[in-house]
């Protein structure tokens, strides 16, 4: 079933996002929440690293957190899917465990 990795920090502020990517196995899911959603933006210096991970992991961003930071769905890197809190709950049930990268 794999692991749901939650990441709540900006990849521009902390190394926790890079560490999350480095420890997510093929078939895992990565969910950006809180300040982590700024990592979802296309055209940033972090986008290539995130895009590369899409080859082996499904990647989501929490829509409410994107909206709070002024980001629209079209600002998000292609391949990154959006969920709301209900979708967040579903992701936790679909994977065997949740690993929070704080």
């Amino acid at each position: 079933m794999g692991t749901l990795h939650t990441i709540n920090k900006s990849p521009f502020e902390r190394n926790s996002f890079a560490t999350c990517l480095a420890h997510a196995s093929a078939g895992d899911v990565i969910l950006m929440i809180e300040d982590g959603v700024v990592g979802a933006r296309k055209g940033s210096s972090f986008a290539p690293a995130l895009a590369a991970k899409l080859a082996s992991c499904a990647i989501y961003a929490l829509g409410p957190d994107l909206a709070a930071r002024g980001m629209k769905p079209e600002d998000v890197l292609e391949g990154v899917k959006l969920v709301d809190y209900a979708g967040f709950v579903d992701l936790t049930t679909e994977k065997a465990r949740v690993c929070a990268w704080l």
Partner: protein
């Protein structure tokens, strides 16, 4: 499914408590069970009834207390973390010789074993922090 939720930061300073609250509401709306919400580290600061946030902002302590009352949630504040940070219930206040307490309705103070138990009893443990 049965969830355990861990909240590691106090209200307002970090979004952790907000995110955990909205996750809890969404899980309950989907018919899931919440075995326990465990407040650790600065998370214990969610459990003081002394807060007075601005009137045009959310009141996280009240939101948690009301959710607990409505759904019979078990909101546990870690005793060791609470002692360091000044969160007391009436028993603790008496035991420590303090002249008052500040625990909010619906929260109870207990040991770290409650966190381990949540990990054992819940199907998924979801952590919110800094």
């Amino acid at each position: 499914m049965r969830f355990g939720i861990v909240v590691n930061e106090g209200p307002y300073t970090h979004q952790a408590s907000d995110s955990a609250y909205r996750f809890a509401v969404a899980a309950l709306e989907k018919g899931h069970e919440i075995f326990r919400v465990f407040f650790y580290h600065d998370g214990v600061n969610n459990g003081t009834r002394y807060t007075v946030p601005p009137q045009d902002d959310r009141n996280l302590q009240k939101l948690w207390s009301e959710l607990a009352e409505k759904h019979g949630l078990d909101l546990v504040v870690c005793i060791a973390a609470a002692q360091r940070r000044g969160i007391l219930d009436a028993n603790e206040a008496k035991r420590q010789g303090k002249d008052g307490d500040n625990i909010a309705p619906g929260f109870r103070i207990s040991g770290l074993g409650q966190l381990i138990e949540a990990g054992i009893q819940a199907d998924r443990l979801v952590t919110f922090g800094d």
